[in-house]
Symmetry: C2
Subunit: 297 residues, 2 copies
């Protein structure tokens, strides 16, 4: 790999309409040591999402700069859209990908949060694995009340930010930063058009109803193909591997005499998530990612 | 990847005892654009094997230089060992790994062969996928008679070398160069100590007895663990994938009531060989190696 260590970042900005601003943000990621993998903007949500990855130090600097661009160019007092938000740079999740631990990534997110507060005057909340209190783990809890309610919310001791002052930046609000696991989007297509069966399977395999710890699932119908699908988000593949979610769906499908006709991976997936599956299915005893030829180059 | 295109080379040199010579050869591979992954020498065989990989152009140059070092430092008129050989640099296989076709790799092997003849005065035979005649596909056929018989052998029209003169280099003999597929060494351990069962399974799955086209297999006993093993060489994983060989072993094992307790990958394996297995077992419809996050960096 050209990068020794790899961290991914998927920052969300509250601008989905002004192409010039979106490009200015994108430019912040076009630097050495960082790769801009993807970005897309939604007009209705008035929001843009960037997928970037790179060496931790270089990535951190690029992200801090991008948040500065957002602060200078997005005015939340004039912004509206369907998507809830408390900041110009709304949420900045960091994801450990390669040769980087969760602990290091939490540390990186703390550094970035502290720099955003210091350099840009935007208060920062740490969330997910970087959270400093139970009520700050979930993004929805932090974002409740949105930008418009933030000034009042921040007066409470429990909503004192992790970095910066206890009042929002006047136009850029606050930013939520943290480390979370990689999210794998994995869909399983069934040989039935019956959405109800997919829904029943989804309920069995997902965490919320007693299934696997890091599986979110829904049953949907793909009208174009006339097949039902179990659509899943695997929120921590290191603990609930892809093969475990897949085998759970097949196991539950059996009671309906339903078979899997295929699966889909949406977006990118870390190599390790796939290697965990090969290791399981081929029953490899002595496996490690060092066995992969390309990983030695 | 730091390398855009990757070719592997596994050259064999007829020196397994003189560490200074082996190090001189190794030094030829310590250059930009090339990575020396592994090298080992066998005293009894009096032979050393290098595993190197890199960008095609840089790799070719390093290999040509290494063959020159071997020519200058290994004298076959004084060399003996258990392993058959016709050259100081005996055989130089090139293996396409990433973003390189078989055709390009054949072309690369032809270039290297031509340069070895021109620069070092060592005649070259092309073998495997680079062979120019049916009797030159197999290394054993070319090497038959060894260095000692080479001068006589080369007088026959059918053994005129592909590059260089029809007589051996006086001390360095001739070199065999060509493109071959990556060889995956894959062993399957059974829940029986009965070597005979492993042998019967090996006979069923291997090409020579009617099994899969690119599988070589043997039954052996692992005394240290008291288990029988089917040990396989998969000589072209792009055509006989690892999962196909594995499932064939499991299918044959069933008739003996025998199960697989684990498998082993010996040495390195290209990422694609593993991705082909994930794609099969997870039944992924829209898969390509571009889905792997790291492959986009």
């Amino acid at each position: 790999m050209s990068f020794e260590k790899i961290v991914e970042c998927v920052p969300n900005f509250s601008e989905g309409r002004n192409g010039k601003v979106i490009e200015k943000i994108a430019d912040a990621f076009r630097v050495d040591g960082v790769k801009l993998l993807d970005y897309s903007a939604d007009v209705d949500h008035n929001r843009s999402v960037f997928t970037v990855a790179g060496e931790p130090t270089e990535l951190a600097e690029a992200v801090i700069n991008a948040v500065g661009v957002a602060k200078d160019n997005i005015d939340l007092t004039k912004q509206s859209g369907e998507h809830p938000r408390i900041g110009a740079a709304d949420v900045v999740p960091f994801v450990p990908i390669k040769n980087v631990s969760v602990e290091e990534t939490v540390e990186l997110s703390r550094f970035v949060g502290q720099q955003i507060a210091t350099r840009h005057g935007v208060p920062v909340y740490l969330y997910e694995k970087s959270a400093t209190a139970a009520n700050r783990v979930n993004l929805a809890d932090i974002r409740k009340g949105q930008f418009e309610g933030l000034s009042e919310k921040m007066k409470a001791e429990e909503w004192k930010p992790d970095f910066g002052n206890s009042e929002p930046h006047p136009t850029a609000g606050a930013t939520v930063v943290g480390c979370r696991p990689f999210l794998v989007a994995f869909n399983v297509n069934l040989d039935t058009p019956d959405e109800e069966i997919a829904t029943k399977i989804a309920r069995r395999v997902r965490f919320i109803n007693g299934g696997l710890r890091f599986v979110k699932a829904l049953g949907v119908k793909l009208n174009s193909r006339n097949v039902a699908q179990v659509t899943m988000n695997l929120t921590d593949y290191t603990k609930t591997p892809v093969y475990a979610a897949f085998e759970a769906v097949k196991m539950e499908a059996r009671r309906y005499g339903v078979n899997v006709i295929g699966t889909e991976i949406i977006g990118l997936i870390p190599q390790q998530a796939l290697l965990d599956c090969v290791e399981y299915y081929l029953q490899i005893e002595n496996f490690s990612s060092d066995k992969v030829l390309e990983n030695n180059l």
